[in-house]
Amino acid sequence: MATGTALRCRECGREYPVAPIYTCEWCFGPLEATYDYDAIASTITRESIAAGPASIWRYGPLLPVEAPAGGALAAGWTPLIRAERLAAELGLGELWLKDDTRNPTNSFKDRVVAVALGKALEFGFKTAACASTGNLANAVAAAAARTGLASFVFVPSDLEAGKILTTSVYGGNVVAIDGNYDDVNRLCAELAAEYPWAFVNVNVRPFYAEGSKTLAYETAEQLDWQVPDHVVVPIASGSLLTKIHKGFDELHKVGLLADPPDVRVSGAQATGCSPVATAFTAGVDDVHPVRPDTIAKSLAIGNPADGYYALDVIRKSGGACGAVTDAEIVDGIRLLARTEGIFGETAAGVTIATLAKLAADGVVRRDERVVAYITGHGLKTLDAIEPHVRVTTTIPPSLDAFRAAFPALTEEA
């Protein structure tokens, strides 16, 4: 029972019928799916969710599309892991990691693509498309293959080799554009007007973006229907952060949480692409676009579509927005791997390094239950970490050589 009832402009409130459209004709504001929360509240229960599939579709009534038949677009229901070693290292108390590397193509983008392609199939599209910094490219190419759709994926030509390869393998069209993500994005807006395709993050974006809410739903359910005090979320377009916040609120609206949630939401960016963090620090409302220059390519959106809304959520929830350098990003990746055995991509490095900074500054507090979102797998961005890690030593296959290499080790008597 999908209950996405209409689309509403986030700026001026004008409503539109459900269709593959994404901007308000009056003021060009972004459109967002609406729901009949009272109707959902009358049917959804913690038990009905628990009896559902181990994927985002367990929250079907809160998504704007019916679950596709046959479990074809399963994503989500990833582990929420208690991170005691990392917490100790950062001087924090109760820290959890939402490990979204464990999705079909190893990033949270499988969630949004599941919803987008479910809707695209419902609309009758034959081709899926996207503008991507890499993770979305993987997810769209794979989900299109799985559902029998053709695909056109547009990426900046300087993307990590690994992300190109792990997109191309699915057999769709991968078009590298000589330009940055914002150039790719602008081209895709033009293409979406010309070709009858489901551009997941253009004309299907109002539905696509809703998939990110499931990260909040799962977090609350996995905490035995409690919410965190503070979440730390990486920012590219800003959509993920705003939808996680929305997801917690909706759980209260439909009666799954007794009290209105009070979750501080903090954002994480790379200093090489930090339009939201810059606006936050400066105390201004205007999110000024930038030209990205960072190893965190999955977050390299200089003109973030939901930057205003992310900034608003951060401020109203009492969170903060931090930014970290490329060197700190690498340190963040290594810290996460070393303490928790989780290999995250550069966006994870941004999140962990920002968490460390906010913890050191006392913004994220020791008495808070904290959740950090690990949105993509480290195998996707090997280039970023390659110069910084190596084998401990290389030796001949002999006991003597090993002893010579590690003279300080204690051997059994």
Binding site: C27, F28, P30, Y181, A189, A193, N201, R205, S239, D306
Partner: protein, 91 residues
């Protein structure tokens, strides 16, 4: 200065269906003002109640976002192309 203004699909009805119009002005702001003068109705669609460009309206001078230039005060040369573009989605 004769400048070409490219109009997005959503606003073409205000200009009698035209995708482009030719106008005069020495800055981007003046050109957009001339657009509203020639085709009343553009102003309220492009600007909010406070007189600022709506935040999901992007304006490009040739291929550059005017937020990377001098905003509405950006000088325009004869023959330049000003494009009104709905804000990008993406991400």
């Amino acid at each position: 200065m004769a400048v070409t203004v490219r109009i997005p699909t959503q606003l073409r009805n205000l200009a009698g269906g035209a995708a482009e119009v030719s106008l005069d002005g020495s800055t981007v702001g003046e050109v957009l003002g001339a657009l509203d003068g020639a085709h009343p109705g553009f102003g309220e669609r492009l600007y909010d109640d406070g007189g600022k460009l709506r935040r999901f309206v992007n304006v490009f001078l040739d291929d550059e976002d005017i937020r990377f230039l001098d905003g509405l005060d950006t000088k325009v040369a004869d023959g330049a192309v000003v494009s009104i573009v709905p804000a990008v989605a993406g991400g």
